[in-house]
Structures are given as C-alpha cells and as structure tokens.
Symmetry: C2
Subunit: 327 residues, 2 copies
C-alpha cells in the first residue's frame, strides 16, 4: 500500500510530518510518497537522523498557507504540496492522501479535483469530536455550505459505513442536528431530511438532536449542512479551549493552584487527553472516490501516524465499494 502525505501541511511541518511517516513505515510496513520541497525534506530528515527507507519524495515548489484562499489549491497554487498530492491521488499513484494543511483548501481540492464516488452528489468533511463518553463524527463539517435533503441522507450513509468499517462502531446511531426533537422542527431542508432519514432502513436514525445533547454523546454521527456544521464544530472547539484555558489559569496562577494541580495531575492529564481531538488522527473527506484525510493543523508525528493508520483501514475495509453499493 502507498499513502501520499503532504509534507508541508500544518503548524509542525515538515519535521513532525516526516517523523510520523517514518513511524508509519516502520509500524505498518507501507510505502509513502511525500509531496513538497525535496531539498528541504531531505535536509530535515538528515539533520534529524530519520531514515527515508520506503519514502519517496515528489518535488514541488509551492505551499498553501493559512492566508491563501481555499481555491488557491485549484488556481494559483497548482504546484503546492497539497495540490500535487491530490493530483497524484487522482492519477492512482497512491491509495490515499493525507494533509494537515488548510481544511478549506483540502475540502475544495477533494470535492472538486478528486473524482467523486459514483452516485454521490457532494463529498463532505467528517471531523471527530470528543463527548462525555467517547466521540462523535460530524458531517458535514464545512465542505458544502448549501445542501439539499438527499445530500444529508448520503452523509448519513457514508458516515455510518465509515464508523462501522473503520472505527469499529456497530450500527452507529445517526442524529440530525436541529432546534428541537419533534420531527417537524427546523427549516424545510431539515424537515425533509428528517422524513428521508426516518424512511431509510440502512440508517440507524435516532431523530433530531439538540445542541445541548451533542456533547453528552447522544449519537455517533451528527448530520447537518456544512454551514451549520462548521459553526457547531468551531463553537464546540472554541468553548472547550476557552474553558481549558480558564482551568489552566486557575492552576498556574498561584502556589495553591500549582499544588492543587499536582494532586489531580493524573486526572487532569486524562481529561486533557480525552478532549484532545488529535488522537483521532484525521477527519476523512467522505465521498471522494479515493480516501482523503485532513489531519489537525497542529498535528505532531503521532497524529500523522494515526491518520495514516485510519487511511490504511479505510482502504482495507473497502469502504468506498461499500458506499457505492449502499446508494
């Protein structure tokens, strides 16, 4: 198996990306294609004594930064590490593509430059978020601002297959984000989506899910349009970060605070680890005819290795054929 990885995506590129790839090669026995400035990659590998066995480099000159617009991947930065990775994937040079770079650009590249699974209207971004008792997957996290009801049903189908085949969740519970639990709630889009989801026997639909219940872990997959989903995703992350920062201030602001933190250090670390979405490795962009994964922007080597593991599972589970035949 050959996985293509964007060597210049994310805050810790290229060192942590290369490290993650080296670890993955050793642990999973796969091949890697790294996209990006070849000289720079080799220099970083050498100065950190990282073996490039089974890792080939595909040289390209540009990098998409957080200041670039999403469509730069299709227009002004066609020779970027991300655009080239997508092109190689599309040409069948590798089995999956992973990037920790701009979500917007990657979603645009994956939905417009990579072929879609036959029958899928639009691919969607599917990040994982921690809850009180585990995690849930959100679809669409922001790839499709305008959605039609049938798209939400396809998100539910694709997400269910991914959770079952790749994340090992049996018969995943699917909820529809909404302003109330009654079936007639929400805009016309949500009312129709509710009807279609309830009528589809391939989906374990539990009904509407209100914002208050999301973080309690009421469902395994939360379905919504990409505008709503992106605001849920980022509000969710924002509130968690703000509260964690407040806790940090409390514990580090005084001697008493520091002593207090020492006493619960083990639990604090466990809590921090539980609410750290890096451990999920990557969020797939489901609906592309070849696996594309977004790793978190601050991905370290371990996150990249986990994202590679997920992409291997995704390929091995033959999830794309499963999705095709579910339509």
């Amino acid at each position: 198996m050959k996985i293509i990885v964007d060597a210049f995506g994310g805050d810790n590129a290229p060192l942590e990306i290369i490290k993650g790839c080296v670890d993955a090669v050793n642990e999973f026995g796969i091949h890697i294609i790294l996209t990006g400035d070849e000289n720079k990659i080799k220099e970083v590998a050498q100065s950190n004594s990282l073996s490039m066995n089974n890792i080939e480099v595909y040289n390209c000159t540009q990098v998409i930064t957080m200041d670039d617009s999403a469509d730069s991947v299709l227009k002004s930065k066609k020779d970027s590490s991300m655009a080239v990775g997508i092109k190689l994937l599309n040409e069948g040079k590798g089995d999956a593509f992973i990037s920790a770079g701009s979500s917007g650009a990657l979603c645009m590249g994956a939905t417009l430059a990579v072929k879609r699974i036959k029958g899928i209207k639009r691919p969607a971004f599917a990040p994982m978020l921690p809850t009180a008792n585990g995690f849930f997957m959100l679809m669409d996290g922001g790839a499709n601002i305008d959605c039609r009801p049938e798209m939400l049903v396809q998100f539910a189908l694709m997400g269910s297959i991914y959770l079952e085949k790749v994340m090992d969740i049996k018969n995943p519970k699917v909820g529809l984000a909404n302003v109330g639990t009654e079936e007639h709630k929400g805009t016309e889009l949500y009312q129709t989506a509710h009807e279609l989801l309830a009528a589809n026997d391939k989906i374990n639909f539990i009904g509407n899910v209100e914002g208050r219940d999301i973080s309690e872990g009421i469902c395994d997959l939360l379905v919504c349009d990409g505008f709503t989903g992106n605001l849920i995703l980022k509000t969710y992350e924002g509130v968690a970060i703000t509260l964690m920062n407040e806790m940090k201030k409390m514990f580090s602001g005084s001697t008493k605070g520091k002593l207090s933190a020492c006493l619960v250090m083990k639990d604090l670390k466990a809590m921090k680890a539980h609410f750290d979405y890096n451990k999920y490795g990557g969020a797939p962009i489901l609906g592309a005819s070849r696996p594309v994964f977004k790793a978190h922007g601050n991905a370290k080597a371990n996150t990249i290795k986990n994202a590679i593991r997920l992409s291997i599972n995704y390929v091995k589970a033959d999830a794309i054929n499963e999705i095709t035949s579910s339509l």
Copy 2:
C-alpha cells in the same frame, strides 16, 4: 411601574419566583402582577412568610410544561400563567412581562400575541452567554427559524440599542456568525446580510465571526438566523456543562481530588460564577412593542430579581422608542 411575572414558569416555581418578586418590590419600589393559581401562590407565600405587599395575583388555571408544544400558549393553554401574562401585557396592564417557562412558547407568544414594534419584521430571542472576558448577546437565539437578510440587520440594530441602553456597553461590536472571515463567505442569506450590515452606519459591524472566536469574546452581539443561533446557543451551553461536569467528577472522585478542590475553592467558585448565565437575569425578546423577558429555566429568586431589574432598565431607557426611531 408594574411588572407582570409568570409565577409558574421554570423549575423552581412558584416559591423562588415569588421570593424574587418580593425582593424586587423591596429593592426597586415597584408593583408586581403575578399570574397563576391564586390559592397556591397565597399558600406558598404564607407558609414562607413572604409579604405580598404591592404584589397582586391574577388567577388562572393552567400551566405550560416542558412537554407542551410551543403553540400551546396560543391554542390549548390560553388560560396558562404564561398566556395570561402575555395577554395582560398586550392590554397595557403592566410595563413588562417575565417568565422562566418554556423558551419556545414564550418566543411564540411574544412574537405572535404581543404587538410588534412598528417597522420590525420579526422579534428575536436574545440570550446572553459568558466568554473569556465577559459576555456576548446572541440574536436570534431561536425565535425565527427562517430569516431574510433585512431581519438580521434589524436584529443588529435592536441588539445594539439594548446593549448600549440597558447593559451600558458603549458602541457595541456586532459580528455576523459565519464559516470564515472573508465577506463572501456563507450562504446567500449571510452574504447579503454582510453587505447590508457593512453599509449601515448605525451598526458597529466588525465583520464575520467564526465559531472558534465566539467564546473568546470577539464581539458584544453575534447576529445570525434563529436555526443557526439556537444550535450555537445550545452547543455552547452543552459543551460548558459537559466540561464543568468532568471537572466536578475529577474534584469529587477521590480524597486527593477533594483536597485539590479546597486549595482552589475561591477560583473555582469565581469560574463557576463567571460561566453561570443566571447572573444575566433574563434574555429579552427584542422587537415586541412591550418588553418580554425569558428568565433561565432554573432561575432562583436572585435571577428573577435581576430579570426584573433589566426589565425596569429597559422600560426606563425608552429603548423601544429608540428602536422605532432607528429604523
């Protein structure tokens, strides 16, 4: 001044509601009309030695529960403490109405049964939420599922006046909830709303605000449609509650945890108080021609007193005339 209060709204009714009214009468020198079962109210007041001076009771037989649909306030429960309170307000029997009962029912009552401010298309629900450095107001928190761009501009105008006149915030910063900061982001509704907000010189518009930045307190007023707003509101509350519960478990789960909590008790209490939206008293439903306030469902006496204080300020500031002339 005479404030109408729903004696049977919320989890702690009627005792805490009556207590809050008694405190408000003593502190602000106002009159109160309590709506609800007269016998029950008098019995609770007597057995708790609460003086009913300057508090009159308007007897009615029904109560809207959390299981009732929002339209029960207009249909099956016209003799409920909430429906009767709204009716009395509409007839000019009091200057403002406060209820801690069902948000959905109160929004429906306030937007359909109370007259609107002349020129206002639809009233909106405007809850306050805590941030890292203070609070922000969210409009619309769920009263209007489908919105047009001009409605979002009216929310911005009404919210700005409320924040300035009632909450004492000079030149409040208004943000538009969106999936990116660039002006062309979002659905057509949001693109047009952005243009209109930017062109309106009565609004201190700071542009689009992403979910990640909301809890950092980037704006004083966040404007969006009621579907999106309700999901932001409840996701926000849900994540905060989940994390606070995790902290509670950490501190109460072991002897070390309890000792740790003792060391930072003062900071813990301050943090809890800061993230407790009860202190804001109530969320106005702005756009109704007379002030309507929703107090939090678990409102205690102090919350009710604070809601009464806000409603007095709202009346005194003549905010409704300000809104009319701003249109």
